[in-house]
């Protein structure tokens, strides 16, 4: 009896804490459908009159589609590069025999210790010197370099668990190393690649400091930075418009999360368990 009461109490507590996580999102949605006047009078109640003016306004004054397209390009580009070159490096480190492979593995782990913030300044100067500032490559390459370590280390562990016979069979069947890698090994590690896709997507889509500093032209800004600049421009008076811009910018990730919540949760926890 006492146990049951305790369990119900815990459930109530968890539900209340859950609301604490959801409420701000509800509030944001709520403010995006209110007129400016109504918002200041009753900030929390449901809108008396649901208006979509804020969204129309947001589409006019906030370059959502441009930022969205840029975010898509940055994320897709980084994703492809990391998965392609990162998995090849991980494969080479775990299954090929060469003298420096152990050193190369420790070297790549350095990427987990050097945070991106540390080298912001020289990176900024380098990007200007290389003449790639405000191009898609100018952000994709640094994002790739800083996302590489985590992916390589995880895939390395995965490649280690595959049996050696795979390559032997491929070799006997007359595959060269590239055919054996791209036709046989890569399809086998699909689950690990899927996990990496989720992790890289989440990291790159929401990345802030690098994009904020390296990209100085409006036309090349991704969503996170475009939104921050939009807020700084319009100031803090028109919360209906702010709410609409927030909802618009959050929709893509929320749709992705809603359609693959389980995979995303598994991917995000994979790191902790694999260690």
């Amino acid at each position: 009896m006492r146990n049951r009461a305790l369990r119900i109490a815990i459930r109530m507590l968890l539900i209340i804490i859950g609301i604490f996580f959801i409420f701000p999102l509800y509030w944001m949605l709520n403010m995006s459908f209110k007129s400016k006047e109504e918002f200041y009078v009753t900030p929390f109640a449901l809108p008396k009159q649901w208006i979509v003016d804020n969204y129309i306004n947001a589409f006019q004054s906030y370059n959502f589609l441009v930022y969205f397209k840029n975010s898509l390009i940055y994320t897709a580009g980084t994703l492809v590069l990391i998965l392609f070159l990162g998995s090849m490096l991980a494969y080479c480190l775990s299954r090929m025999e060469w003298r420096f492979s152990k050193y190369a593995l420790s070297y790549i782990s350095l990427g987990l210790v050097i945070p991106v913030n540390v080298v912001m300044i020289p990176l900024f100067i380098m990007i200007i010197d290389l003449n790639i500032q405000n191009t898609y490559m100018g952000l994709i390459i640094p994002l790739f370099a800083f996302g590489l370590s985590a992916c390589v280390l995880m895939l390395y562990a995965f490649f280690r668990s595959l049996p050696k016979e795979l390559e032997e069979a491929a070799c006997i069947d007359g595959c060269n190393v590239y055919q054996s890698y791209f036709r046989i090994i890569l399809p086998i590690i699909k689950p690990a690649i899927a996990t990496q896709c989720v992790l890289i997507f989440m990291n790159v889509w929401n990345e802030f400091p690098l994009s904020y500093i390296l990209v100085t032209k409006e036309a090349f800004r991704p969503l996170t930075v475009g939104l921050a600049n939009f807020f700084m421009e319009i100031g803090v008076t028109d919360w209906g418009l702010i709410g609409a811009a927030m909802i618009l910018s959050s929709l893509p990730t929320m749709i992705v999360y809603a359609s693959a919540s389980e995979q995303i949760e598994n991917a995000l926890t994979a790191g902790a368990i694999l260690k």
Binding site: W98, P122, M254
Partner: protein, 294 residues
Amino acid sequence: MTRFFSTNTSIFIFAFPALFIFTAFVVYPLFPEIVISFQKHNGFSSQGFVGFKNYIEIFSSNSFWKANTNTFIIVLLSTAAGLPISLLLAFLLDSQANGTRRYFKAAGMLPAILSVTVIAQMWMAIYEPQWGLLNSLLRAIGLESLSQEWLTDRGIVIFSVAVAFLWQYIGLNTLLFYTGLKSIPKTYYEAALMDGAGPVKSALMITIPLLQEVIKFVLVISILGSMGMFAHVEVMTGGGPGYFSRTIVYELYYKAFMSSEFGVGSAVAVIYVLQCILITLVLNRFVAREKIEF
């Protein structure tokens, strides 16, 4: 057979592109950074070496020490408050039925999947002094005396920003701990129950020791994550009022990109990377133990 595949050409093709870009954009920049930290540099060109002048300047500036204190406060809060709260929530979650669990997971993950900009702006609305959620709530329960200017009060501002930051990742950390809890075989608890251990005792004697791999992982990512906090500060306060909510990364950003003193900014960055290395060494030395196999 793998030897057959491991020709010099194939190793080069597989390893070189990634290693080259990694070296050029992650490792190499540390060297110019150290060089710039001894120069007067405006971002476009160097105006000559100045010896330790930049370091002397940061060590004698109030904003640098404030930034360090603030960063320390955030690291302390996320480890001493954030982690125990997440661990406790994971324990509570473990005692619940599927429905509650799914609801809580989805709710807790929501902040973690949204972008920093959205979270920071949302918390600006929560902290707004006149109609903001927090002050309205305090007024509603008759604690008006506790209402504050959350983002403009010099003494409080860093805690306000820290709460927004912790709030974003508590759900994710809970999920990480919960996944760790699930991977511990149930038989251990049955044995403990037979020996007469209660839930608290078995949590302390079984779960926490067996969870140390996960705890270490979450500890490392929380410490390194909170040491690098930048975006929340930039969006919510811009480091203000004055320099009272600057973190160490904000300080380096401010020096380099807001006041065009790239030399001074690089000196801050060098100190910061030394701190990161020191913390990683300490964590590896004291937190790492033998790996546990079930």
